[in-house]
C-alpha cells in the first residue's frame, strides 16, 4: 500500500499500527477543523436574523432563526425546489455529455495515431487558455444565430457544447490518465485480434474509471455552481438554476434577504456533497491491472 507521505523512520516500525492511525486521525481532525470553520460559521449564520447577520459576526446566533429555511424555500413565485430540479437536470446531463464525448476524444489523443494529431492536441490545449469572458458575447451571438436561444427548453445552449467535448479540461485529464495505463495491455488485446474499437471497449473503458469518476464529480459540481452562462441564457424564473436563483436574494441597492440566501446556500451544498461522497467511493477500490494482463 501507499506510504502516507511523510517518511516514517524505520525504527518506529514496532509500535506503528496503533499510534500512527491515532496520529493520523488527530492530524486530520485538526486540519478538518480549520478547513471547515468558515462553513460552520456559514451554517450558524443561516439561522440568524437579518439584523444579526449584519451586526453579530459570532459563530452562533443570539436568537435561533430557523425560519430562514422555509422563507428561502418559498421566497419566490417558484419554489426553490424547482431550481434544485433544474440544476440537477442540467448538471446530470452535463455529466453524461462530458463523460462520453471527452472520453472518446481522449482515447484518440492518448492511444491512436492519425494525421495532425499533434496539431489538434495543441489546439485543444489552446482552447483552455483564452479567458472565457471575451467569448460570452460572440458565443451568445453564435447560438442565437443557430436559433438555440430562448426556445421552450432554454437549456440547449448550456448543454450542446458539453456533448461536443468543448471542455478541454476533461479531455486533457483523461488523456493524462489513459497514458498511465500500460500499453502492453493494448498490445495483448491486439494480439487477441482487437482493433482500435475493441481496445477501447475492453481495455481503456474499464480502466478509465478513476478518470470518468473524476470527470463526473467535477462536471456535476462545476455546473452546479456555474453562474455567468446560466444567467445569460435563462430568462424565465421557472427555468432558473440554483446559482442564478441564489443571486436573486440580494439586490444590493434595494432589498437583501441575506438570511434566506444563506439558508438556501447551505441547502444547495447538500446535493453536491452527497453526489461527491457517493461517487468518490468508486475511487476507493484500487485498480489491479495485473488481472487484465493474463
Amino acid at each position: 500500500m501507499v506510504a502516507s507521505t511523510v517518511a516514517p523512520p524505520v525504527a518506529a516500525r514496532a509500535q506503528r499500527p496503533r499510534s500512527r492511525s491515532w496520529l493520523r486521525l488527530v492530524v486530520l481532525l485538526a486540519i478538518v477543523a480549520v478547513v471547515l470553520y468558515p462553513l460552520i460559521w456559514m451554517v450558524g449564520t443561516s439561522v440568524k436574523s437579518q439584523q444579526e447577520i449584519v451586526n453579530n459576526i459570532g459563530l452562533l446566533p443570539e436568537r435561533f432563526t430557523p425560519g430562514n429555511y422555509p422563507d428561502g424555500w418559498t421566497n419566490f413565485d417558484v419554489s426553490f425546489g424547482r431550481f434544485f430540479l433544474n440544476s440537477a437536470m442540467v448538471s446530470l446531463l452535463t455529466v453524461i455529455g462530458n463523460a462520453v464525448s471527452c472520453l472518446l476524444a481522449a482515447y484518440a489523443f492518448a492511444r491512436l495515431r492519425f494525421r495532425l494529431r499533434r496539431v489538434w492536441f495543441a489546439v485543444m490545449i489552446g482552447t483552455l487558455l483564452l479567458p472565457s469572458h471575451v467569448l460570452i458575447v460572440p458565443q451568445y451571438i453564435l447560438f442565437r444565430s443557430f436559433g438555440l436561444v430562448g426556445g421552450d427548453w432554454p437549456y440547449l445552449p448550456l448543454l450542446i457544447p458539453q456533448f461536443l467535448a468543448t471542455e478541454a479540461f476533461f479531455v486533457f485529464l483523461m488523456v493524462q490518465f489513459m497514458r498511465s495505463i500500460p500499453r502492453e495491455l493494448d498490445e495483448a488485446a491486439r494480439i487477441d485480434g482487437a482493433g482500435p474499437f475493441g481496445i477501447f471497449r475492453h481495455v481503456i473503458l474499464p480502466l478509465s474509471r478513476p478518470a470518468l469518476v473524476t470527470t463526473a464529480i467535477f462536471s456535476f459540481i462545476w455546473t452546479w455552481n456555474e453562474f455567468f452562462r446560466q444567467l445569460v441564457y435563462l430568462s424565465n424564473l421557472s427555468d432558473y438554476t440554483v446559482p442564478v436563483a441564489l443571486t436573486l436574494f440580494i439586490d444590493s441597492t434595494s432589498q437583501s434577504a441575506v438570511g434566506p440566501m444563506f439558508a438556501m446556500a447551505v441547502l444547495s451544498l447538500l446535493p453536491v456533497f452527497v453526489f461527491f461522497v457517493a461517487f468518490q467511493r468508486m475511487l476507493v477500490e484500487g485498480i489491479n491491472t495485473s488481472g487484465l494482463k493474463g
Binding site: 437579518q50 439584523q51 447577520i53 449584519v54 451586526n55 421566497n75 419566490f76 413565485d77 460570452i136 458575447v137 451568445y140 451571438i141 453564435l142 442565437r144 444565430s145 443557430f146 436559433g147 438555440l148 436561444v149 430562448g150 426556445g151 453562474f227 455567468f228 444567467l231 445569460v232 430568462s235 424565465n236 424564473l237 443571486t247 436573486l248 436574494f249 440580494i250 439586490d251 444590493s252 441597492t253 434595494s254 432589498q255 437583501s256 434577504a257 441575506v258
Partner: protein, 445 residues
C-alpha cells in the same frame, strides 16, 4: 461588416491592414453571419408579430423579490385592461443585470422594455440602443405633464428622451438617532456646512466612541453634490466639470476629518464604500452616519434595531436634484414600440398601477399620484423618507446633465484615488492629479 479599406480612429491616425488578412476576416465574419441564417430562419417561426393583434412584450428589470411581485402585479393589471398584450417578464438582482442586458443587446434581442439607471443611460443612448421617446411625449401617448420638469430633463441625452424616470430619489445622509440620543448628542440638520458636519462628527466620535461619519470621499454622489455647491459639476458637455484643484480640496477636506478622528480607519471606510445596503456603516454600527439615497431608508431600517434619521447632505441643499432613481427605456429595434410606450405610460401614470408599485422605485414621478402615495404610506421608515424628500424637493437645484459615456470608469477611479489617500498611500494633491488624468483617458476612449 467593417469599413472598406481604411478606417480613421479617433486620434486621427489611419490604419491599413494587409489585404489578405482583411479578406480572411471578412470571409470569417461573412460565414458567421450568413451560415447561421439558415438556422435562424427556422427559429423565427415564433415571432411575436402575430397577425391576430396579440402582442407579447419582453420586459427586464433588476431588483429584489418585493419589486418583482409589485411589478408583476402592475403588468398583470395592464394585461387585464389590454387582453391582447402579454409580457415575458425577466428580473434579476443587480449582480449581472447589466452584463446580461449588454449581451442580449449584442445578440440583437434586447427586451422591448428595460430598466436602466443614470450610470448606464448615456452609454446605451450614445450607442442608439434606446428609442427616443420624444415623439410619444409630443403625441401625448406618454403623458409627462405631471412630472417635475427637472426629473424629466434628467432622462434627456443629446437632445433625445432616452429614458423616462420610473421614480425619483435624492441623496440622503442617514444617522443613528438612538446612538445620538443615548449620548446626549445633537442630531445633524439639513443646511449644516461641510465643516460643521465634520466638527459634529468629531464630537460624536469623542463622546459616543463610534466614528461620527463615514468618509464619503470615494463616493461620487457625495463628491457630485459638493461640486455643485462649489459652482462646478461632475460633467460639462463631454468633459469633466471639475479640475485637479477641486478634487484636491475635496480630498483635503476629508483628510482633515480623518486626522481629527471624525471618521473610521481606512479599512472600515473601505468596507462602507461598498454600495450594499447591508454594509452601510450606520447599520453595521461602525459609524454614526452613512451616505445613501433617501429611498433606501426602509431597507436600511430592516438591518438595524436602532432608530435612524435622514437629512440632506451637508452644504446648501440646492446642490441636490430630483434624480431619476431608474428609468424605463425602450429598445430602438422593438417591433412593438407603440405598445411599449403605452405600457410605460401606464406604469408611471395609471393611478392603480402607481398605487401598486408604491415607492419601490423611488417616489412616483407623477406629482399628483405622488401626493396620494405619500398620504397612504404606512411604514414609518418609508413615511420618513417621503417626508424628507418632499421637503427637499422644494429646495432642489436644476438637474445636471446625465453622466456621460465613461462614467463607470470615472466612478471606479474616484474610489481608487480616494482610497489611496485614505490609506495614506498618496497625498490628496497627488491622488487628485492621478484621478483627473485617469478620468480624461476614460472619457476620451
Amino acid at each position: 461588416m467593417h469599413p472598406a479599406t481604411a478606417t480613421s480612429v479617433p486620434d486621427g491616425r489611419t490604419y491599413r491592414t494587409p489585404l489578405l488578412r482583411r479578406r480572411f476576416l471578412r470571409g470569417l465574419l461573412a460565414a458567421v453571419v450568413t451560415l447561421p441564417l439558415i438556422g435562424a430562419a427556422a427559429a423565427c417561426g415564433d415571432d411575436d408579430a402575430a397577425s391576430d393583434g396579440k402582442v407579447r412584450l419582453s420586459i427586464f428589470w433588476w431588483g429584489g423579490e418585493a419589486r418583482a411581485q409589485l411589478t408583476k402585479q402592475a403588468l398583470d393589471l395592464y394585461t387585464e385592461k389590454n387582453p391582447d398584450v402579454t409580457f415575458e417578464k425577466t428580473w434579476q438582482a443587480n449582480q449581472g443585470y447589466f452584463d446580461k442586458l449588454a449581451t442580449l443587446t449584442a445578440g440583437g434581442n434586447p427586451p422591448d422594455i428595460f430598466q436602466i439607471d443614470d450610470n448606464f443611460l448615456a452609454e446605451y443612448a450614445a450607442r442608439n440602443t434606446t428609442l427616443d421617446l420624444k415623439k410619444y411625449q409630443d403625441s401625448g401617448d406618454l403623458d409627462t405633464t405631471k412630472f417635475p420638469p427637472s426629473l424629466l430633463q434628467y432622462g434627456v441625452v443629446d437632445g433625445k428622451l432616452a429614458g423616462l424616470a420610473a421614480g425619483e430619489n435624492t441623496q440622503g445622509l442617514v444617522y443613528n438617532k438612538t446612538l445620538l440620543d443615548k449620548n446626549g448628542l445633537p442630531e445633524p440638520t439639513t443646511g449644516m456646512s461641510w465643516e460643521e458636519h465634520v466638527a459634529w462628527a468629531e464630537q460624536v466620535s469623542k463622546k459616543a466612541g463610534i466614528p461620527g461619519t463615514q468618509d464619503p470621499s470615494a463616493d461620487y454622489k457625495a463628491f457630485w453634490v459638493w461640486l455643485r455647491q462649489q459652482g462646478k459639476d461632475l460633467y460639462s458637455g463631454n468633459e469633466l466639470g471639475f479640475t485637479v484643484e477641486d478634487v484636491t480640496k475635496w480630498f483635503e477636506l476629508w483628510k482633515g476629518a480623518r486626522d481629527r478622528g471624525a471618521t473610521p480607519p481606512p479599512d472600515v471606510i473601505h468596507e462602507g464604500n461598498a454600495t450594499d445596503i447591508t454594509k452601510q456603516l450606520v447599520v453595521t454600527g461602525k459609524a454614526a452616519t452613512s451616505w445613501v439615497w433617501v429611498n433606501q431608508m426602509p431597507e436600511l431600517k430592516k438591518n438595524t434595531a436602532d432608530e435612524l434619521g435622514v437629512i440632506a447632505y451637508p452644504g446648501d441643499p440646492s446642490g441636490q436634484w430630483a434624480r431619476a432613481s431608474m428609468y424605463w427605456s425602450i429598445f430602438r429595434g422593438s417591433k412593438h414600440a407603440d405598445v411599449a410606450a403605452d405600457v410605460i405610460n401606464f406604469l408611471v401614470n395609471d393611478p392603480e398601477a402607481v398605487k401598486l408599485l408604491g415607492t419601490d422605485r423611488g417616489l412616483p414621478s407623477n406629482l399628483d399620484l405622488r401626493r396620494v402615495i405619500s398620504d397612504d404610506a404606512t411604514d414609518p421608515a418609508m413615511k420618513q423618507s417621503i417626508t424628507v424628500e418632499n421637503e427637499l424637493a422644494e429646495k432642489f437645484g436644476e438637474s445636471p446633465q446625465v453622466p456621460i459615456k465613461g462614467h463607470s470608469k470615472v466612478k471606479s477611479e474616484l474610489t481608487k484615488a480616494a482610497e489611496n489617500a485614505q490609506y495614506g498611500r498618496a497625498a490628496p494633491a497627488e491622488a487628485a492629479a492621478q484621478f483627473v488624468e485617469a478620468c480624461k483617458a476614460a472619457i476620451v476612449s
